[in-house]
Symmetry: none
Subunit: 210 residues, 4 copies
Amino acid sequence: MPKDTYFNLAEDKRKRVIDAAIEEFSTHSYHKARITAIAENAGIAKGSFYQYFKDKKDLFKHIIDLTVDKKLEYINQDMMKNIKNHGFFQLLQETYLSGVRFAKDNPRLLAIGVKLTNNKDLQREVWGDQQDKTLSFYKQLLEVGITKGELESDIDIELVSRLLSGLNYSLIDIVYKDGKIDLDGLVNEKGIVDKMISFIENGIKKNNNE
Amino acid sequence: MPKDTYFNLAEDKRKRVIDAAIEEFSTHSYHKARITAIAENAGIAKGSFYQYFKDKKDLFKHIIDLTVDKKLEYINQDMMKNIKNHGFFQLLQETYLSGVRFAKDNPRLLAIGVKLTNNKDLQREVWGDQQDKTLSFYKQLLEVGITKGELESDIDIELVSRLLSGLNYSLIDIVYKDGKIDLDGLVNEKGIVDKMISFIENGIKKNNNE
Amino acid sequence: MPKDTYFNLAEDKRKRVIDAAIEEFSTHSYHKARITAIAENAGIAKGSFYQYFKDKKDLFKHIIDLTVDKKLEYINQDMMKNIKNHGFFQLLQETYLSGVRFAKDNPRLLAIGVKLTNNKDLQREVWGDQQDKTLSFYKQLLEVGITKGELESDIDIELVSRLLSGLNYSLIDIVYKDGKIDLDGLVNEKGIVDKMISFIENGIKKNNNE
Amino acid sequence: MPKDTYFNLAEDKRKRVIDAAIEEFSTHSYHKARITAIAENAGIAKGSFYQYFKDKKDLFKHIIDLTVDKKLEYINQDMMKNIKNHGFFQLLQETYLSGVRFAKDNPRLLAIGVKLTNNKDLQREVWGDQQDKTLSFYKQLLEVGITKGELESDIDIELVSRLLSGLNYSLIDIVYKDGKIDLDGLVNEKGIVDKMISFIENGIKKNNNE
DNA sequence: CATGAATGAGCCTTCATTCAT
DNA sequence: CATGAATGAAGGCTCATTCAT
């Protein structure tokens, strides 16, 4: 949690600090990221940095918080608040699409998130149980889907929720590479998402009855 | 490539070095891994380390090579050499199962591999184009499956190959956490793999015809 | 080029750093010179050193720059700017004398300069083409001398310029040894320089016409 | 002084060691020269090196001894043994020419000698009073020359002997650069030496009586 | 005598953090 | 609240020399 001095800062300066931090953390691992560089790029004194944040981790956590906030903005809140009024695959599609939109608009935040994924220790310190929340969300979706008769009733919710979460990662990975759009041979994001949904709906086995 | 001195080393000492290295690299990122710690844990002088390896990267590459060799031992070579004689889902199941077995037996090597995934620069230096090879493998599997009429002919091979690769990662991630078995609520590996194969075959949508 | 922090340093501290550096570089080759020793003798932390200079070479270049500046102070600028108004041997004498005065006042800088002479690679990095400038200076002097009829017109300018430059080194070498005055059996600098000039003017062959 | 084991070595192996040492010392400063490299290039074990020589310095001194021996081979012994039967300038020319011939035939030994010149501490340890011997030689030459009436009787022998020695260095420096012949614009060695002798005989002042 | 593995002191450099002004 | 100089722990790496076989 940043210090009070940070929140009392002029909007402009606070933005410069955040911008510099995002730039540094998105291009370097947590440990290789240098607060010296951040201070320089933000145009503040190195000492000032420690007036705003307790230490490097304090800043990083703050950046992650901002990232989570930003991510939430991309989720269709109306839809999510009324899960029961929508079909399972519609909700899943919207979930995936919101992730793609976020990634497209915030490539640097995406890069930071991906890096965090690869550092379990840090993730535990910073995220706590965020991952569990994500899984819970998918589980909830699945349960409703089953209840409404949209999904096979004998699926393993624990497993499938993890697969859906994993597929979301894959999707992001496919659509964006190193912060750059990468749609070689893939029509467009919407098309990809649709195909993924279809994959999840029906699998890939040839249905001989057709 | 380690120096000759390394290969001339007594079996016992070489093992200690490798063990210490695997321990260090599996618990620290490449950059945070300390050769000082490796030397200490292996019971050799720091200077000796540099008689065996050119530098830190030389050792790391060697560990990766060992990992790749180990991984190959888990793949059913007979089956893979006669792809056309087996069904697509059978091959996929075997592929996934071999990964699970490797992970179960070599949790530390798995951890190193996962870390490498998160460091694209290092990966490029060490792996070259191994990732592409993996994708090519899945593509080949898919093509044969379509030809043989096992799979829907209109699937997007490029996309699905990436999904299958991603699901493999998810699988490993589900079964093992931080090098520790994690089968809470999940019957067993075989069961999980079977369920995943089923997921990929048929999807999760309720088939009302049944 | 030292960093800004260096130039912002208190006069006193900057002097201590430079003094320690000159002491170290004048008594050790560039590669044997230890920045650890310099930091210790300057009474600063090793880390502080790197706040002032990028690296060892940065410091060394700075010392060389200071040496060049100091050397220039000893040259009679009025005389050199009006080469044509003075006799060749008068100019040569002044050139040699300025070198002697510099060496006498700055024996440690002299030692550094001599060491640099022996490390061609370093010299190239630090000096660029300074050596050529020195030769050009002597050549210019010789050409003017010939034009004015003071010198034999058939001398090999290329060769003689190198000899004059070499004699200058010899002179410095004679007058100062390891930073200590060494006038054993030699009256005084002025006397030596006069004798050298005479040597260059007339040679040492007995003139039987006299 | 090398150990007895060294002198008992097979001619061939001893030669390989010396060759490797000369190669290393001629291309690196004494401190940067690596005995590891010497052992490798000589095709001997590093441990063997220490069976032949006490340490690095022991080897270096030996190389210098060999260099001095080699240098002596180039001096016209007959002429030097009968100094009194030859003219001063004839002897000086021969002295200089022998130096040029040595340099031409042994560029690597020359390089080692030049490096040694730049390391006074090492020079003292290795050469002891060799430099004094050189100066004594020139002094003797000068004294005989004066006695025989060839030279001006009022020259400062101490000074001139050093100048003649210095000019010899200049000559070598002019003729050979970095172990490579460098006669740009200079007719040939003999021509240069003749011009230098002329320079020493008559100086460069225009003689108006001519 | 040959061998080559083992050693460890020591070097340069980096960087998060502190602290006096 | 701003500043930026000061700090020092720590890391990777080099190499002459020793020593057991």
